[in-house]
Each structure stands twice: as structure tokens, then as C-alpha cells.
Symmetry: C2
Subunit: 346 residues, 2 copies
């Protein structure tokens, strides 16, 4: 899922985004609640109409953002973050204007009902990494209690509500969280609290523990992941859905993903290159422009460079998923994975 | 002519630009010479191929940029500008890295032959405004001597070379400059040194003086102009061509041009507006998005907002020119002008 935090995927228009062939995009309840706010979203009849987007939207609950603020990870904010966690919910200061807000599991579902996302995430407790077993256990148990309240709040049949499995890097807690979440018979299952700084091996290990417990006939979503390698490895372990800012954020910094690995398009070696970014790519950027031209746009700090890079990276990720789906359908995922690694170098 | 100083019109891709239906775009010799540089442009076979642009390109000579640097007008530069004007040419320090360069009329034509622009501008002397009669007269006479050298340098028949009329706001100098330029039988005629801070009435008065002398069967180009009103007034006085950063630069600041005047899309009054930017506009932005959504994108500092605004403003300007051409063909320009002012409010 391309990430469209604030009602647009950054640096592209709706039609440029559609051309990269995403199945669904991600929005963020925390950001949309603060700006443009529920009053505007309600007036416009939800996010689909507001941004004129007809394909599905999944909204993250904003739990991750609120707790990230507390850890000082939101560098864009002008206001010092403060977060107070209680059984009832989480009180936090907006990174935009310093105003206080109170998120409860109920409010977060209600906001997502106004947003009108096709898939909603419940408010969860996201501890930092690393974290003690005691704190991680508290987070797991509160997340379950909040999930029950979220489920009871949900009104619309057409909106899906997932559960989020927490438990940091503790196998026993991941198991406990997965079992209790599955008991609540959700529409799908997210794995949260990974890709937050732990080694990739820990992430894969925890994914394996959790996936074993999740029902095979429901979507399994690994939140905030990841690199192309992370995606291939996680699909191999049973994951169906991903979201990550990696393709879009890297694009704006001039890092492009290709069949053969990452390319820093600003590098001097591309100065006279008439080659496309990726010879195997069918995106608008690769069909029309050379590495030399893209390098010039980045060196001249032209916004157009960011746009062309975003189009390419999104198409790279979406094409990777297309190839994965095809390989799975044709029962040849392992040979696909081998071929992927034979070309893609980290 | 949309302005594409550095090898792209800012914040749009080639196809987004084409959808706004420009007849021609403008590039800048000064900027392109410094970055990506003639070596790169030569390697790629010129600017058309480098940026994959098939429609015509006009390149400004860079005279205006070099002399603007001397006046401290280039705020983007990291290096203190220095300019030394001699009969031979103009020596200047790059605003990018402080390196010294020497532009002669010959070099500037040769660079534009490498760029491969369809219409070339000769190196001219652009005095500041206001300027003494003596300095303005020197500029006029040097510009003519340089034009002769430019014409003698030019190799390719398929590339047009215009002359540039100078003379500040002095009627006698404008006449002298126009007469001497016309004597050289150029492919077209530019009026330079206007729209540099003088009152609009002075600009119109000088335009009238010059147009009277210029041949009717050659294109007349008023450089760096201007607002929609400036364009309508100047066409009325006989001008055929314009370039201006106004539509693109204003777009990136959230100022949108409409049939009814300018709109600051960031204003709170658009918060709940489901209207398009301009009900009479056929652009991608107006067909797909509301003022309320655009306001949100600008408030959230999303690049996508700049792109959508640029698309709209370019289409507004190109559509204005379409309507002007149609009115002229149908011999009803005065009634068009009246109708334009009945709606458009400054």
C-alpha cells in the first residue's frame, strides 16, 4: 500500500498514482483527524470523495503516530510532544499546534467511520523498541481490551476492522497477543510493533510465531514493512499486505529501487547515462526519461525529479507485488524468490 | 510560454505540461550552461532529447540573468554575484559555485546551437530600472553591436534568432533601438528591459513606441510579461508572444488565476468549498478536485498541491491565449477584451 498520510500520496497526483497500479492506499487517522479534521471530512462525505479516490483505502489508527511522538520520533513537529496513557485511552499534544487531544478506541473507530476507509485499524498501544517484558505485556493486554471496545463501536458492515498483534520481540507475548486477537474473530490481522529498529532476523522470527496462529483465510498485514527483501521474506512467511513510506520517501531523496538494487540517482556516474532507471520497468519515468536527465533534475532541486522518482518507486513496489502474486498463483514462489535474489543486491 | 528555466517546467511532468496545451516553452541559456552544462547537453543531442520534449523551445540568452545577478536580484544564489561588462562580453560569477565565466555574443549563440532551441535570443545588455539616459543609451548601442556579432555567428537555418529592443523607459532610445534592430532583419523581435519595476503605463507606452516600428509580419515578443491584464493590454498593442514565471511561481505559492481574478487557495473561506478553482476551466485540477481539497494540500504543505495548482495556472494562461487568438481571427478582439474585464477583477 502506497502511503498517503495526509490525503494524498506525496509528490504525485491521483492519476499518476493510478498509473503505478496500486490495489489500495493507506491513510492515517492521526494526521487526518488533526488536518483537515473530521468536520471537513464529514462535510465532504469522507476521504474517498475529498481526494477523489475510488479504490480502497486502509487507515492506520494513529496509535503508532501518537506513541512515536512520545518517543520524540516526529521530527517534523514544532511542538514538544506529550503523551498520557490511561486505560480509557491516550491523551496527546498535536505536533501541529500543541493542542491537547484524547484518543479512545471508540473515537478512533468513529473517526474512521467518518473518513470512510474500507479497512480500519483499532487504536493500539505501541511501545518503543527495546522495551521490557513487563511493559510489552501491558501493551499486549491493553491492546486486546481496546480491540474489544473498538469492535463494539463499529457500525458499518462494509468497513473491515482488523486486529493488531503486539508483543515486541517476546515470543510468548506475540503468541498470547495473536491467540487473544484471533479469538475476537476480526476481518483481518495486522502485526504491529515490528520494523521499529530490531534486527531483521527478530522481525522474521516474530512474524513466523504470529503467522502460525493467524487463520489462513484472513488477510495478514505486516505494518510499516519494508525493503524489497523484507517483503519477499515476509511473503515467504505468510504475509499478504504491507505498507511503507520507503518507496515514496526514498524517491524524494533520490534513492530509486531497481531490479538490481538501489540506485542513488544523484551520483556523478549517471551524468552521461542515457539508460532508464530500470531496464525492466514499465513505468512512465522509465519509458520517458534517462538517468542523466533525472540526475540533473535532482541536482537542480526540481520538484519534477521527486515526482518522477516517486512514480518509478511506486511502480517498482507494485510490480514486485504483482510478480509475487503471479508466482504464488502458479505455485512457483520459491523459484521466484531465488530469481529475485539473483538480481537484487542490497 | 511556460517557463522551464532548468530543463523542466517546475512541479509538472512533460505530460502534465502537454495537457495544458502550450505551443512552446522557454528555457534559459544561463542556467542550462551552468547546469547540466554544455558537455551534457551536447552528449544528449540537445535539450529536446534531454528532456524528451518535442514541441518548440525558445531559449533566453541569459543576459537578463547575468545582469540581474549584478543587481543582487538572484536570491537563490549562495555566492556573491560579480559582473564585469566590456565591449567583448560580460564576465560573471556563477550563483551556484562562485566560478568565473565569460559570455560573449558568439558563445551564447554557440551554446544555444548545442541546446538546439528553435528560437534563440542574442546576448543583450540589460540595465537596471531606473537607469540614466546615458547608461540606457550605452546599453542600446552595445546590444546592437552584439546582435550583429550574434547574427554572424549563427550557423543553422532551422534555428530562429530574434533581436532584442532595449532603451529603458526613454522613448527616443526605444525608437533608436527598434530602428537599428529592424535594420538587421531578424527572424522576430523581442522587447526587453520592461516589466522590471516600472509602472504598467510606462510599459504600455514603450510597447506602443516599439511596436509601431517593428514589421507586422514578424513575431513580436514582450519578454517577462506578465499578469493576465498585462497580456490582454499588450496584445491590444500588437504583441504576439510572452513568457512569465507568474503562472508557475504563483501556483507554488497557492495563488491561482481564474476567470474572475486571483484566488488565494490557502484562505480559510475555501475550507468547505466543493467548487473547482475556476468553473470555466477545463484543466485536470478543475475537473477532479475541489477548492477545499486544494486548500488542505497547501496547508499540509503537500507537493501535490503545487503540482495541481501549476497545472491549473498554466492551463489558465494557455486558455487565455487560445481565446485571444480566436477573437483576433474572428475580428472581435475589442469585444473579447471588454468581456475579459467584465469578469476578471484585479
Amino acid at each position: 500500500m502506497p502511503v498517503g498520510t495526509q490525503g494524498t500520496v506525496k509528490a504525485v497526483t491521483k492519476d499518476q498514482l493510478l498509473e503505478t497500479k496500486p490495489q489500495i492506499i493507506l491513510g492515517n487517522t492521526y494526521h487526518l483527524y488533526l488536518r483537515p479534521g473530521v468536520e471537513v471530512l464529514s462535510y465532504f462525505g469522507g476521504l474517498h470523495k475529498f481526494m477523489n479516490w475510488e479504490k480502497p483505502i486502509l487507515t492506520d489508527s494513529g496509535g503508532f503516530q501518537v506513541f512515536s511522538l512520545a518517543q520524540g520520533k516526529n521530527k517534523g513537529g514544532k511542538h514538544k510532544a506529550e503523551v498520557i496513557l490511561t486505560e480509557e485511552g491516550v491523551k496527546f499534544k498535536s505536533h501541529l499546534d500543541g493542542s491537547w487531544h484524547f484518543f479512545t478506541p471508540e473515537l478512533v473507530v468513529e473517526v474512521q467511520e467518518i473518513i470512510g476507509s474500507d479497512i480500519m485499524m483499532p487504536l493500539d498501544v505501541c511501545p518503543p523498541y527495546p522495551v521490557s517484558h513487563t511493559t510489552a505485556k501491558d501493551a499486549v493486554e491493553k491492546t486486546i481490551r481496546w480491540l474489544k471496545r473498538s469492535k463494539e463501536t463499529k457500525k458499518n458492515n462494509w468497513q473491515a476492522l482488523f486486529g493488531i498483534v503486539q508483543g515486541s520481540v517476546y515470543e510468548d507475548l506475540r503468541k498470547e497477543s495473536a491467540l487473544k486477537t484471533v479469538e475476537l474473530e476480526m476481518d483481518g490481522y495486522s502485526i504491529g510493533g515490528l520494523s521499529v529498529g530490531e534486527p531483521a532476523e527478530e522481525m522474521y522470527a516474530m512474524t513466523e510465531v504470529v503467522v502460525e496462529i493467524l487463520p489462513q483465510d484472513k488477510p495478514r498485514y505486516l505494518m510499516g514493512v519494508g525493503t524489497p527483501e523484507n517483503i519477499v521474506e515476509s511473503v515467504d512467511r505468510g504475509i499478504d499486505m504491507f505498507d511503507c513510506v520507503m518507496p515514496t520517501r526514498n524517491a524524494r531523496n533520490g534513492t530509486l529501487f531497481t531490479t538490481f538494487g538501489r540506485v542513488n540517482i544523484k551520483a556523478a556516474k549517471h551524468k552521461f547515462s542515457e539508460d532508464p532507471v530500470d531496464p525492466e520497468c514499465d513505468c512512465y519515468t522509465c519509458r520517458n526519461f534517462s538517468r542523466g536527465y533525472l540526475r540533473h533534475l535532482f541536482n537542480a532541486e526540481e520538484i519534477t525529479g521527486m515526482t518522477l522518482a516517486t512514480i518509478h518507486n511506486l511502480r517498482f513496489y507494485n510490480r514486485l507485488m504483482e510478480k509475487i502474486r503471479e508466482a504464488i498463483k502458479e505455485n512457483r514462489f520459491q523459484s521466484f524468490k531465488k530469481e529475485f535474489y539473483s538480481k537484487y543486491k542490497s
